[in-house]
C-alpha cells in the first residue's frame, strides 16, 4: 500500500457550542478520486476549510505525504500541494487569465518574469485541453465552465498534488460537466488525488473511486463507490428513512383556487414560465443554482422590479414588481436571506411576529399594543416558540427559531393568502425542521397556497404535493403525487433536457 497524499486523523472542530467536525478521519491516495457526501451542515465545508488552512482544527492530525503538518493559511496549504476549487470561484474578474493563475502563488516572483510564467500557465491550460483560452483575456469575459478550468489550471501550475472540488458542477451546463469529468479523470491518471464534494449522486457514481459520507460533523462511512447504491448513500447521509420527518399529506386540504402564473419573465433569469399552484397544497419549484426557481418566488413577492407576466391569485390579477402590492394581496415571503429580507434583527421576537401586520391591530392608525401582544403570544404558542424567548432580539435566536417567527407572521393573518418560501429550512436543525414542516401543513389546512423552492431534494420529495422543475429559467418537468420520488426529481434537475414532461 502506497502512502496517502493527504490524511486526516481524528480531526475535531467546534464553533461555539456547535460541533462542526467530530473526530473525522480520511485519507486520499495518489490516483484516487474520493467523493465526499453529506447533507448541508454535515461538515463538508469545514473539513475543506481545515485542509486549506482557513480554519484551525481543535484537535487531530493532518499528514501530507506522511508528515504531520499544521496548515497556517491558504498560501501555506498551496505550498504543501493542496489546492481548492471552491463553489464560489476565487478568480478576480478584472484580471487576465495569466494574472489569475499566478495570483497569490507562493512562488510568484515580485517582479513578473512574464516569459517563464506564461509558458507554465500555457502548459497547465493545455494539459486541461483548454488550448483555445487566451492568457491575456480578462476572466470577466469567460463563461463559468471556463472559469472553473482556469481555477484548476491555477492549481496545476502550482503543482498541487491534491485537488479539492466543492460542488464544482452546481452552475455548469451539461457540456461543461462532461468536459470537467474527463479533465478530472485525466488528472487521476496523472497521479493526482482528488476530493470531490457533491450532492449529485449521479456524478459521484460516475467519477469517484470511493465515497466518504459525513453526517452532523461525524464520519459515517467510507467505501468503494462500486457496491454502494443511491439508496444506501442517501440513508447514510440522512441517518434515517424518509418517512419519519414529514407529516402525512392531507389530501382533503386541496381547495378550489390558487396561484396561476402565465408567461412569467425575469430578464436573464426566468423565461416565460407558466404553472399553477393550487390552494391548500405545497408546490415545490425545484432546480439547481441558476435555474431561476428562487427568482420566481422573489418575483411573486414583488422583489424583482423587472419581472413581467400575468399572475392571478384566485382569479384576481397581482401587480408585479411592487413588494407593497404583493403584501396587500396577502402574499408573504420567507426569504433565504432572513437577515436581509425577512427579520428585523434588532427588534424583539414579539415585535417581529406582529411587524408585518400592524394595520390589523390598529384602529384609525393607532396600534393597540395590548391586543397585538396577546395575538403575538398566541402565535408563539402555535409555532412552538417558548414564551421566554419573545423578549430576545431576533438576531440572537437560532436559525430554526428565526424561521418560526417568519411562519408565525403567516399564521397571524386572519385571511389565508400565499406563502412563498425560498430555502425554508436552510440553517435549521433537525428538530426545528420537523416543527416547520408541521406548520407548513397547518397552513395548507387553513387554506393557504404554499410555494417553496429548495436545494434539498429530500425536502422536495418529503413535502411537495406538486413539483415543477426548472432548468435555466425554463420549466422542464412537472410531477404530482406518486411521481414524486427522489431519483426522478434528481433526474429532472440534472438531466433537464431529456424529459418532455413539461406541460
Amino acid at each position: 500500500m502506497t502512502q496517502p497524499l493527504v490524511s486526516l486523523e481524528g480531526v475535531s472542530k467546534a464553533f461555539g457550542p456547535i460541533a462542526a467536525l467530530r473526530d473525522v478521519s480520511l485519507a486520499v491516495a495518489a490516483g484516487e478520486i474520493r467523493g465526499l457526501c453529506g447533507e448541508n451542515g454535515a461538515g463538508k465545508s469545514t473539513l475543506m476549510k481545515v485542509l486549506m488552512g482557513l480554519v484551525r482544527p481543535d484537535s487531530g492530525v493532518i499528514r501530507i505525504a506522511g508528515e504531520p503538518r499544521t496548515i497556517r493559511n491558504p498560501r501555506h496549504a498551496q505550498s504543501l500541494g493542496l489546492g481548492l476549487v471552491a463553489q464560489e470561484l476565487s478568480l478576480a474578474p478584472r484580471l487576465s487569465i495569466l494574472d489569475n493563475i499566478w495570483l497569490g502563488g507562493e512562488e510568484t516572483p515580485l517582479i513578473y518574469r512574464m516569459g517563464k510564467l506564461r509558458l507554465r500557465a500555457r502548459a497547465a491550460l493545455d494539459a486541461l485541453g483548454a488550448e483555445d483560452l487566451d492568457l491575456d483575456q480578462p476572466v470577466l469575459d469567460l463563461p463559468v465552465g471556463q472559469r472553473q478550468i482556469v481555477e484548476i489550471a491555477r492549481l496545476l501550475a502550482r503543482d498541487a498534488r491534491v485537488l479539492i472540488l466543492d460542488e464544482p458542477t452546481a452552475t455548469l451546463s451539461d457540456v461543461e460537466i462532461e468536459r470537467l469529468m474527463s479533465i478530472l479523470k485525466g488528472l487521476r491518471a496523472q497521479g493526482h488525488g482528488i476530493i470531490y464534494i457533491s450532492h449529485r449522486l449521479g456524478e459521484v457514481f460516475e467519477l469517484c473511486d470511493s465515497v466518504t459520507v459525513l453526517r452532523n460533523g461525524a464520519h459515517v462511512s467510507t467505501g468503494p463507490a462500486i457496491g454502494q447504491t443511491r439508496e444506501s448513500l442517501i440513508e447514510d447521509m440522512l441517518g434515517r428513512s424518509f418517512g419519519d420527518m414529514y407529516p402525512a399529506r392531507d389530501e382533503d386540504a386541496a381547495m378550489k383556487g390558487g396561484v396561476s402564473i402565465a408567461h412569467l419573465t425575469v430578464p436573464g433569469v426566468v423565461h416565460g414560465l407558466s404553472l399553477f399552484a393550487p390552494k391548500g397544497r405545497i408546490t415545490a419549484i425545484a432546480g439547481q443554482i441558476g435555474s431561476g426557481a428562487g427568482a420566481v418566488n422573489r418575483a411573486l413577492a414583488g422583489l424583482e422590479p423587472a419581472a413581467r407576466g400575468e399572475v392571478r391569485i384566485d382569479g384576481s390579477a397581482l401587480m408585479l414588481g411592487s413588494a407593497p402590492a404583493s403584501a396587500a394581496d396577502h402574499v408573504l415571503f420567507v426569504s433565504d436571506d432572513r437577515a436581509a429580507e425577512g427579520l428585523f434583527p434588532d427588534l424583539s421576537a414579539l415585535d417581529n411576529l406582529i411587524a408585518a401586520d400592524l394595520r390589523a391591530h390598529a384602529s384609525a392608525g393607532v396600534v393597540s399594543w395590548t391586543r397585538a401582544r396577546e395575538l403575538g403570544l398566541d402565535i408563539a404558542r402555535k409555532v412552538g416558540l417558548s414564551e421566554g424567548r419573545l423578549a430576545s432580539r431576533a438576531s440572537t435566536l437560532s436559525g430554526g427559531n428565526q424561521q418560526k417567527l417568519l411562519f408565525g407572521r403567516a399564521l397571524a393573518r386572519a385571511t389565508p393568502g400565499v406563502l412563498l418560501m425560498n430555502e425554508p429550512t436552510r440553517g435549521v436543525d433537525v428538530g426545528a425542521r420537523a416543527d416547520i414542516y408541521r406548520l407548513m401543513r397547518d397552513l395548507c389546512a387553513r387554506g393557504w397556497t404554499l410555494i417553496m423552492t429548495t436545494s434539498e431534494l429530500e425536502e422536495v420529495v418529503g413535502m411537495a404535493d406538486l413539483v415543477y422543475t426548472m432548468y435555466r429559467g425554463r420549466l422542464v418537468a412537472r410531477r404530482e403525487g406518486a411521481e414524486i420520488e427522489l431519483a426522478g426529481v434528481l433526474a429532472d434537475i440534472t438531466h433537464p433536457l431529456a424529459p418532455e414532461a413539461a406541460a
Binding site: S90, R94, D99, W102, L103, G104, I111, Y112
Partner: protein, 320 residues
C-alpha cells in the same frame, strides 16, 4: 482588437481627458487662451497639489476601503514642515513623512487586527491629526520662512513643470511601474474585486492593506509638506480642500467605489483632467462656478455609466 482597447483600464480616463481638452479648445475658438504653455503649467500645478493624495486615496478605493485621514495628515504634515523645516527642509520632510507613514500604519493595523471599517477608523485618524495640528500651531497660521526653498519648489522648469509637480510625476511614475510589473498590482485588483477570493488564492491581503494605508499617509504628508513650502505657510485648518477633488479624480480615473478597478495612471489622468478643467476654464475667463458645474456633470455621467443597469444594457447591445 478594438474591444481590447476599449476595455483597457486607461481607455476611459484618457478619453475623458481628451474630450475635455477638445471641448475647451473648441470653446476657445482659436484665440490661443487654452493652447498656451501657461494653461499646461497651471494644470500641472493643480496636479502637484492633488495628485499624490488622489493616488493614495485611489489605491485605498481600489481595495474597497476609504481613507478620510488624508486631509488631516495633509494639514499636520504642512504644520510639521513649517515647524521644523524652516532652516532645513529635509528635516521638515523627514518629520512630515514619518508622521504620515505612522498614521497610515496605525490605521491599517487597527483595521486589520480589529476588523473595523476603514471609514470609521480613518475618521478617527482625521480628527486626531487635525487636533494635533491645532495643538502644534496654537490655532495660528505658521509662516514658513525659507524664501529660497519656496522659490526652489515653485520655479518654472521647462515651461510646464515645477520641482513640486516633477516630484509628484516621479512618484506617480514609480507607482505605475511597480503596479504594472509586480504581483502587488494584480493582488490589489484581486483584493478589491473579491477579498475572499484573493485570500483563497493566497494573496497576502492583510499586509497589502496595511502597506496601502501607510503609503496613502506618505503621499498625503509629502504633498502637504510641499504645499507648505510652496505657499510659505501652514495652518491646522488646512491650506486646500483635499478629499473631494481626490475622490473625484479617482473616479474619473476609473476607480470605482465598489473596488477592483482602476490603475495608478488612470488616477493621475483623473487629476490632470481636474487641473485641465480648472486651468482651461480660467483661461477662458469662465465664472468660478462653471468649473464646479462642469465637474459635477462629468462625475454624474461617469456614475451613470458605471451603474449596473446601464452596463447590462450596453452588454446586451454589444451582443455578448
Amino acid at each position: 482588437m478594438a474591444g481590447s482597447l476599449r476595455n483597457h483600464p486607461l481607455a476611459r480616463p484618457l478619453a475623458i481627458f481628451v474630450a475635455c481638452f477638445i471641448l475647451l479648445v473648441l470653446v476657445d475658438r482659436g484665440r490661443g487662451n487654452v493652447l498656451a504653455l501657461a494653461t499646461g503649467f497651471s494644470m500641472f500645478e493643480t496636479f502637484a497639489t492633488g495628485a499624490l493624495v488622489a493616488l493614495g486615496l485611489g489605491l485605498c478605493m481600489m481595495i474597497r476601503e476609504f481613507d478620510l485621514s488624508v486631509a488631516g495628515v495633509f494639514s499636520l504634515a504642512g504644520c510639521l514642515m513649517a515647524f521644523m523645516g524652516g532652516s532645513d527642509p529635509y528635516l521638515g520632510f523627514a518629520a512630515a513623512l514619518l508622521a504620515g507613514v505612522v498614521v497610515g500604519l496605525v490605521q491599517g493595523l487597527i483595521i486589520v487586527r480589529l476588523g473595523l471599517s476603514s471609514v470609521g477608523v480613518t475618521l478617527g485618524g482625521l480628527l486626531t491629526c487635525v487636533g494635533l495640528a491645532y495643538v502644534l500651531t496654537e490655532n495660528r497660521s505658521l509662516p514658513y520662512d525659507n524664501i529660497e526653498a519656496t522659490m526652489a519648489v515653485t520655479r518654472r522648469i521647462w515651461g510646464l513643470f515645477s520641482l513640486r509637480s516633477l516630484v509628484c510625476l516621479a512618484v506617480v511614475a514609480l507607482v505605475a511601474v511597480v503596479f504594472g510589473v509586480t504581483r502587488w498590482g494584480r493582488e490589489i485588483i484581486a483584493m478589491g474585486s473579491d477579498r475572499r477570493a484573493a485570500i483563497t488564492a493566497g494573496a497576502p491581503v492583510t499586509g497589502l492593506l496595511i502597506a496601502i494605508f501607510a503609503f496613502s499617509g506618505f503621499c498625503a504628508a509629502l504633498s502637504g509638506a510641499m504645499l507648505t513650502m510652496a505657499l510659505a505657510t501652514a495652518a491646522a485648518s488646512g491650506l486646500s480642500d483635499v478629499i473631494p477633488p481626490a475622490a473625484a479624480a479617482a473616479i474619473l480615473g476609473g476607480v470605482s467605489l465598489a473596488g477592483g478597478t482602476g490603475r495608478p495612471l488612470g488616477v493621475a489622468l483623473g487629476v490632470l483632467t481636474l487641473g485641465l478643467l480648472r486651468a482651461g476654464l480660467n483661461a477662458l475667463g469662465a465664472p468660478p462656478f462653471i468649473n464646479d458645474i462642469a465637474l459635477g456633470a462629468i462625475l454624474l455621467a461617469v456614475g451613470v455609466l458605471d451603474g449596473p443597469e446601464i452596463a447590462r444594457r450596453l452588454k446586451r447591445l454589444q451582443g455578448t
